[in-house]
C-alpha cells in the first residue's frame, strides 16, 4: 500500500498542536482585551491568524505530508484572492472619496 495511506503520527503531535492553537487563540483574544491599538493591533491579529491557519492546514489537514502536486494545486489558487483584495482596496478608496465629497451622511443611520 502507498505510504500516505498508512500515515500515523503519535497522538502527542495532535495534542501539542491543539494546545498551541489554544494559546494562539488566547493571545489574539488578549489583543482585544488589552485594547492594543494601531499598527501593532493589525500586526498581531494577522500574525496569530496566519499561525493558526498554517497549523490547521499543515498538521490537522495533513497538508505537510502531501506531495507537492497536491499542495500546489490547493494552496496556490487562493493567492488570486490577493489580487482581488488589491483591486477592491483601490475601488473602496475611490468610493469613500466620492461619498465624502458628494454626500452628507446624516440620513444614513436608518430609523428603527
Amino acid at each position: 500500500m502507498e505510504k500516505t495511506a498508512h500515515q500515523q503520527h503519535p497522538i502527542s503531535t495532535y495534542l501539542s498542536i491543539w494546545l498551541l492553537l489554544f494559546v494562539l487563540s488566547t493571545f489574539s483574544y488578549l489583543v482585544d482585551f488589552f485594547h492594543v491599538e494601531g499598527t501593532m493591533r493589525w500586526f498581531l491579529i494577522l500574525l496569530f491568524m496566519f499561525l493558526k491557519a498554517g497549523l490547521i492546514i499543515s498538521v490537522f489537514m495533513h497538508m505537510k505530508w502531501e506531495r507537492l502536486a497536491m499542495r500546489s494545486a490547493i494552496l496556490l489558487p487562493p493567492l488570486a484572492l490577493l489580487v482581488f483584495v488589491a483591486l477592491m482596496v483601490i475601488e473602496s478608496n475611490y468610493v469613500s472619496g466620492s461619498r465624502a465629497t458628494a454626500f452628507t451622511p446624516v440620513s444614513f443611520v436608518a430609523h428603527e
Binding site: E2, K3, T4, A5, H6, Q7, Q8, H9, I11, Y14, L15, I17, W18, L21, F22, S25, S28, Y29, V31, D32, F33, W42, I45, L46, F48, M49, A53, I56, I57, V59, F60, M61, H62, E66, R67, A69, M70, A73, I74, P77, P78, L81, F84, V85, M88, V89, E91, S92, N93, V95, S96, R99, A100, F103, P105, F108, V109, A110, H111, E112
Partner: protein
C-alpha cells in the same frame, strides 16, 4: 464489432462525447497516493475558499468605503457576567469550542488510520457534539443581537447599516457549514460505529469528513480575525 471500431476511432481522434470522455478518463493520475474522494473534497474546499474569500472582500469594501462609523465589534459582542463587561467573551468561547472540536476530529482521523473502530466513532460523536454547541451559542448570539441590540440587515443603532447584513451573511453562511458538518459527521460516525469502514477495509471516509471539519474551523479563524477583532 463495428461499434468497437467506431469507439476506438473516437478515442484516437478525441472527437465527440466518447472522445471527450475517454480523454478525461484516460489512465493518468496527477495526485498519486490520493484517492478521488479526498482529491474532490480538496477541490470543493478550494471553491469554498473563494466563496468565503469573496464574502470577506465584500465586507472589506463596505467597511473601507462607509462614511458612517463602523460599530465596534468588541463592544457590540460584549457580555455582562456578574456585573462586569467582558469584551467578545462569547466569541472567544465559541472559538475555543471550535478549536477543541478540530482537536478531537484530528485524533479521530488518527485512530481511523489505526482502524480503532470504537475510539474513532466516539471522538467523531464528540466532535459533532462540540459543533452542535457552537451552533447553539451562535443562535444565542444572533437572538441577543436581533432582540436586544436591534440589529437588522438594513440598519442598526450602533453605526454603519451594512454591519447587520454583512454579519448575518458571513456568520450565517459559516453557521450553515457547521450545521451541515454536524449532520455529515454524525452520519459518518454512525457508519464507523456500525463497522461499515471495517467491511470496506478503509477508514478514508473519516479522513475526508475530517478535512471538511477542519476547513470549517479554518474559516472561523479568518472570520474571528477580520470581523470580530479588526
Amino acid at each position: 464489432m463495428s461499434d468497437r471500431l467506431e469507439l476506438s476511432d473516437a478515442v484516437a481522434s478525441g472527437e465527440g462525447w466518447q472522445g471527450m470522455v475517454s480523454d478525461w478518463s484516460a489512465d493518468r493520475e496527477t495526485f498519486k497516493d490520493v484517492s478521488w474522494g479526498k482529491a474532490m473534497m480538496w477541490v470543493f474546499l478550494l471553491s469554498d475558499t473563494f466563496i468565503f474569500g469573496s464574502f470577506l472582500i465584500g465586507y472589506m469594501s463596505a467597511r473601507m468605503s462607509t462614511v458612517v462609523p463602523w460599530p465596534i465589534p468588541s463592544e457590540v459582542f460584549a457580555l455582562n457576567i456578574g456585573g462586569t463587561d467582558f469584551p467578545l467573551i462569547l466569541i472567544a468561547i465559541m472559538t475555543f469550542i471550535l478549536i477543541s472540536s478540530s482537536g478531537t476530529m484530528a485524533m479521530a482521523v488518527n485512530y481511523g488510520y489505526q482502524r480503532n473502530r470504537k475510539r474513532t466513532a466516539v471522538l467523531m460523536f464528540l466532535t459533532a457534539a462540540l459543533g452542535l454547541s457552537f451552533v447553539g451559542l451562535q443562535a444565542f448570539e444572533w437572538t441577543k443581537l436581533i432582540v436586544e441590540e436591534g440589529v437588522r440587515p438594513w440598519s442598526n443603532p450602533m453605526g454603519a447599516p451594512q454591519f447587520g447584513s454583512i454579519f448575518f451573511m458571513i456568520t450565517g453562511f459559516h453557521g450553515l457549514h457547521v450545521s451541515i458538518g454536524v449532520i455529515y459527521l454524525t452520519v459518518v460516525a454512525a457508519k464507523v460505529w456500525r463497522g461499515d469502514f471495517d467491511r470496506r477495509g478503509s477508514y478514508e471516509g473519516v479522513e475526508i469528513a475530517g478535512l471538511y471539519w477542519h476547513f470549517v474551523d479554518l474559516v472561523w479563524v479568518f472570520i474571528f480575525a477580520f470581523f470580530y477583532l479588526w
